[in-house]
Point group: C2
Chain length 142, copies 2
Amino acid sequence: MAEAVTADRAARSLQQLGYRLTPQRIMILEAVLESDDHVTAEELYEQVRVQYPHISFSTVYRTMELLRDSGFVTQTDLGGGRVQYHPVGKATHHHLVCQGCGSVAEVGEEIFTGLQQELRERHNFDATLTHFAIFGRCERCR
Amino acid sequence: MAEAVTADRAARSLQQLGYRLTPQRIMILEAVLESDDHVTAEELYEQVRVQYPHISFSTVYRTMELLRDSGFVTQTDLGGGRVQYHPVGKATHHHLVCQGCGSVAEVGEEIFTGLQQELRERHNFDATLTHFAIFGRCERCR
DNA sequence: TTCATTGCAAATAATTTGCAATCGG
DNA sequence: CCGATTGCAAATTATTTGCAATGAA
């Protein structure tokens, strides 16, 4: 029950960091935290626009930059021209993208535990392996 | 000595695939195969422009698409708004990008062997794990 | 000759930025 | 009140595309 960040808590933190709590920021914050998975700027824009049609893309982008720098979301660019935002503290999973048929399968984060351990032990590197896309060929396409 | 693809061999293969061998394609092909590592469209453009100032960006992009589809290069988008091209058959390595100090360390591909095997055995997925960037924190920044 | 390929210029598409108006603290 | 934040419109940047001219086979 105290695992993931709530919108309230995040909002308070932002305020303590010296940022102003505008309605736009709160709505964007709620939208991104509600998403169990990744969202794009466009999805956030559309979602917030339902309650607040006046919202602008610049505000979405600027707010996500702020949330990223404050550590509430991570930002991933897996190609395809759109950046993905992803709330921290939520269950992580990864994508297996087939370069043959384009299918996308999901796998849990335990896939990386071996790699992570090896990086830590042999390279003294503490890897943040959240939300990756792995390219290759699926069963059918091999 | 028969490990990496040479420009001549690749050119011949392209021809056999039914593509025309234009000087532009040959120059771009040589440029990308000469690079031990990744190159961007811009880098290829600049490099070819030295011998052939008339080259256009469209040709670079279209040629790289062709080389990618023919299997001579892989295309990776690690964010930052520029796609990276990378000749196949060259030694692969990966980057450990520290989110604290921005330092970049290199690690060999053997890092992924465990993961690759697991993906193959448990998920029937044949992963192409070439040229990755891994984010996290380096020794000093932890 | 003939059609694939090129170069140019214009089109896309995501993201960023300048600036005047607005509103949270 | 005052400066941080917003919305708009214009700018930026990488990449793509239409089309007429060109050149490889």
